[in-house]
Point group: C2
Chain length 652, copies 2
């Protein structure tokens, strides 16, 4: 039985099942998780106190005067608390002991108690409406976020139950879910919530409680969406546009959709929930639609970093191949949501490509969301920031490319916390044949009737050692290793001997009678490489990006020679890419250096376009170039020094 976010029902219709036990014990992710456990998570309650979230709960519980009204700008403020509770619960589930864990446990019980106390008699719980001036409950489906908040409450409760075994928060969640079941459904209130989330939460509550009504209601919500109960919706304020039905995916049913659209987090939470429904119901039409939608997203609407959401406007997906690096929204929450969706598709289908993209998103567009010290956050994750002092001054608020201790709309920080705290869950799976390693992090994993230990310096080093500790006796058993998409070659040995098997569709399957203690060594090629975009990705035409293993690299101002502007740099095709580990830099990173050219741009005149019928290049006008050496750092580590220019895609 999985101890993580997904615990499939016994009869679930998936190709793979989550590991029954998983621990990350060292390496890259252990370090990020330690920062989460020691800095980010412990700071949570104080952040929530300062932002007013806890005051709202106290006021709704009658434990504090309510006359000051609701604090915060958004109706969904409670969900920040729920998400922190979920994150902290996964951290407790991970164990470790000691005074820090005891303190975290105390904080969890304190905040869980506040949530429970705030719940109304009838099971209702959303302080925005409880403290509001009038009874608008359930009357504002477009912007009210009531089912969204309830969904996060359910997920927190499931995590809390799995971590602690206690029923307190689960009882709160069940009462809330029962209220929702009483109100919503065929022949009752047939609107859906403007922001999906309840779907995946109800399925997990079904998995935890066995109460089938929760699964049925989740399936109903998935099916109902796209039938116009929300429609174009009202504008959210006087100056804004009407969002339009695609914003909340109400323009087409999930099973009929051919392209991801609208608000990226809404779309991906919905698809994660639909994948949960398909997993439990075996609905093949729904599954096929999800495969189609994932392919549309991956092939035409995903940044090199795995980030998604091309538009600041409505925080939404763009058209196919609309992937501007500078105005990439690529919200941290959308990266989390893409990982949630991708992992569910990996379990559903068994295909390696889903975990391939999950890996890319984890190491790049997700990891960039949290600062190295765990105290500051990015809401948006662009692939280019210009050296524009005026522009920087003019860009303020949550959506600026600057790390911030907390956001007015603080959805992202606890989302990062809950994914990091539950990360072991995403590393491995099992089936009747054996165990699959989807991601490579030092640790121990139990699945498919066996247990393995992984030791690796990945992603800095390409050697991954897997010790097969336990296997079923007297039978063949399969250890499957995912070979990343970018790995054009690889080597594998078992007990020091090369193997004959070849990877197929991303899986190298090693089927044999194993001796406990036998060691498999996978070596992945970690030469730095230049990556080119499809010619339809207009915004980065003529550019390349530097990658090494699963890491996307970027040029950031502080690493370049003094006085060199990033908009002057051109890579040289075919030039050597040199890598060097720098333990003292940015918490320890491997940098890549390469010879490049410094080109002057046009500096004169008031018009940036010139007659140029001539041949070649992308320049026209007068330009000079001089040799220079540039240094690239992993994208996830950017924006941890003084603010300055950064770019992933570089002209060649």
């Amino acid at each position: 039985m999985s101890a993580g976010p997904i615990r499939l029902s016994p009869g679930a219709h998936t190709a793979l099942r989550p590991a029954t036990a998983a621990r990350i014990t060292g390496g890259f992710w252990a370090a990020r998780r330690r920062v989460n456990a020691e800095v980010s998570l412990p700071q949570g309650p104080d952040r929530l106190e300062r932002a007013g979230n806890l005051a709202n709960l106290r006021a709704a519980a009658g434990a504090a005067p309510a006359q000051s009204g609701f604090r915060g700008d958004f109706p969904f403020q409670d969900s920040d608390v729920h998400k922190w509770l979920e994150a902290a619960s996964w951290q407790l589930a991970d164990g470790g002991g000691g005074p820090a864990e005891e303190e975290l446990s105390r904080q969890v019980e304190r905040l869980a108690g506040m949530v429970a106390a705030a719940q109304a008699e009838d099971g209702y719980l959303q302080t925005y409406y409880q403290l509001g001036p009038d009874a608008r409950r359930w009357a504002e489906p477009h912007w009210g976020h009531e089912l969204y908040c309830a969904g996060h409450l359910l997920q927190a409760a499931v995590a809390h139950r799995r971590a602690t075994g206690g029923d307190g928060l689960l009882d709160v969640a069940v009462r809330c879910a029962d209220l929702i079941g009483t109100r919503f459904g065929p022949g009752k209130d047939e609107t859906v919530c403007g922001h999906p989330e309840i779907e995946t939460a109800l399925v997990e509550l079904y998995r935890e409680t066995g109460d089938r009504r929760h699964l049925d209601l989740a399936a109903y919500f998935v099916e109902r969406r796209g039938q116009g109960s929300l429609g174009d919706g009202p504008a959210d304020g006087a100056a804004g546009p009407r969002p339009g039905a695609p914003y909340w995916q109400d323009h087409v049913r999930v099973r009929d959709a051919t392209a991801v659209a609208g608000h990226a987090v809404r779309q991906l939470y919905l698809l994660a929930g639909a994948a949960d429904v398909a997993a439990e119901t075996g609905d093949a039409g729904l599954r096929d639609a999800l495969v189609r939608l994932w392919e549309d997203m991956a092939a035409t609407k995903t940044y090199l970093t795995g980030g998604v959401g091309s538009r600041h406007d409505l925080e939404s997906f763009g058209d196919a191949y609309e992937l501007p690096p500078d105005r990439a929204y690529a919200e941290t929450c959308a990266a989390v949501a893409a990982i949630h969706f991708g992992w569910r598709m990996a379990l559903l289908t068994g295909d390696a490509r889903y975990s391939d993209l999950v890996e890319r998103t984890l190491f790049n567009g997700f990891a960039s969301g949290m600062s190295l010290d765990g105290e500051r956050w990015l809401y948006v994750n662009p692939l280019q920031v210009r050296q524009d002092e005026e522009g920087r001054k003019a860009t303020a608020g949550d959506r600026s490319p600057h790390r911030t201790p907390w956001f007015r709309c603080a959805c992202c920080p606890p989302n990062v916390m809950r994914l990091l705290a539950s990360l072991p869950h995403y590393m491995a799976s099992g089936d009747a044949e054996g165990l699959q390693l989807h991601q490579y992090a030092s640790g121990s994993y139990e699945a498919g009737g066996g247990a393995v230990r992984v030791g690796t310096g990945y992603p800095w080093e390409g050697r991954i050692a897997v010790v097969v500790d336990q296997v079923p006796k007297d039978t063949d058993w399969t250890l499957s290793l995912r070979i990343p998409h970018w790995a054009r070659t690889y080597e594998v040995t078992v007990g020091g001997e090369p193997v004959a098997e070849q990877a197929e569709h991303g899986w190298l399957r090693l089927r044999r009678r194993w001796r406990p203690g036998e060691t498999v060594v996978l070596s992945l090629p970690l030469d730095a490489r230049l990556t080119r975009p499809d010619p339809r990705v207009d915004a980065v035409r003529g550019c390349a990006a530097i990658e090494r293993g699963p890491l996307v690299y970027c040029l950031e101002q502080p690493d370049q020679p003094a006085g060199l502007r990033l908009d002057e740099i051109a890579l040289v095709a075919g030039a050597a890419l040199h890598h060097e580990h720098r333990p003292e830099l940015l918490g320890g990173v491997t940098v890549i250096t390469t010879p490049a050219l410094r080109r002057t741009a046009w500096r004169d005149g008031w018009w940036p376009y010139r007659n140029g019928g001539g041949s070649g290049g992308d320049t026209g006008g007068t330009q000079t170039s001089a040799p220079v050496r540039v240094t690239a750092i992993p994208y996830y580590a950017w924006a941890n020094r003084e603010p300055g220019a950064m770019r992933v895609w570089i002209p060649v």
Copy 2:
């Protein structure tokens, strides 16, 4: 004395003064203006009736039951009426006579009467607040648009006065301005309006009435902005971000600013008003700031089409060189505002470059805003639309790249109408030396003590004939012709003889003792050309655009060979550009055809990025190419057939 929108005071500190009479009698702009006069303007009252604007006026006047409340989504709905009144008044000022003009005159008096009747006792006039549930007048400076609406009322009244000589609407405006003067100013209410417009309007009211208090208040508003009376402001709705002080240009005083920023229309209305103030006060510091800001805009934040505003998000300017073609906002109103600002700078400084950019904006990013038939409008004017059926379905509302009969937020249509109706005003100017022709349209122009007649087929033909009809007697007089930035060569004759003078800084100044009837012929080179972007304009790297004369061209789907997708087309550097006039196409346009390549993009796989250390090109991966012939049309004429892909910048 100018009969157009700007009538400088006698002591104004400008290099040039508007023409005292100007008529456009034939050619490109006469045709667009005829559509405006015969279709767009006459439809206005009905559009305003259907959208509820007139009902609001009747309700505020007590002439209709008010219980239905305010109609429309925006507090500034009244301004649509004011702008239509201004536009229709300029059309009446243009004369022409006949039953159509009589009917327009009747409609003007009817709507002006409704506006007058809606005004409150104290001079207040904004139906949104008059019909609102409570007395929030003047209490919502960020989003209330009260001074903005008042500004448009003042401009309508000035136009009405200049067109008809009647005082009715002017009296309404003066009462409104007096109320504002009573309320706002040093030691009184010191906030500014979230949306500039009152500044330019007060200066023009000063010019019309001679009442210096209006000028002083305008100067105060310009000076007060940037001192934090608005600050970051409240979010406009739950889901939106706080706009931040730059949104309404409250982050820095105009005279201290070094870069245009924030909401593009707000920024440019403000700068137009500041230019009016500088013109009347001779404030050199303000003038220098305006020159600096125009240069920042032109050199780093203007599209090839003259459109401005790179971001849908907050309808704002982007960073320097952030000019995405697909997500260009380039609001039609921002083009109008840029022309207003540019023309004021041309008058203030006498520099030709301002009118050079005005011409580009007029023929491209402005003219694209109105359909060829005058019945449909574009709010945004992108330079690329992809062939994405799903994306098109997912993009709804005002901000989609589809022509619409009217908008929920209908600021753009009457803005186009008022500029077209007053267009003769922008063609010529005068000074003590003579007359300057800024734009080339067949017509007659009086300025600088003389009068000329222009005859030309511009922009389709490069020959411009100017007959000098009247000149001051017995003295030298200067006819100045603007030589466009794109014209690398040109020829001029006077009385058939080539002249010795050379253009300097964009002006060819012909100073001599003229004989009435003498003819000047300017011939501009109209070979089609490829234009390249500055290498810092990342979004169109490796591309070129086709231009001819002042016209920017685009590829639109219907003109290409069947089955050819626009994202497959690559231009060939150095290939011949053939131009051909097609009188039957799109109201008569010169098209440009050129040989090009059809390249296949990557069609396989789920990931749009590939390893590619190899040299050259922007492709990597497998591609083939085949010759094909493509046809470009003028950008202004796009989106007048079935919806489909379009692009201005094409890979080379």
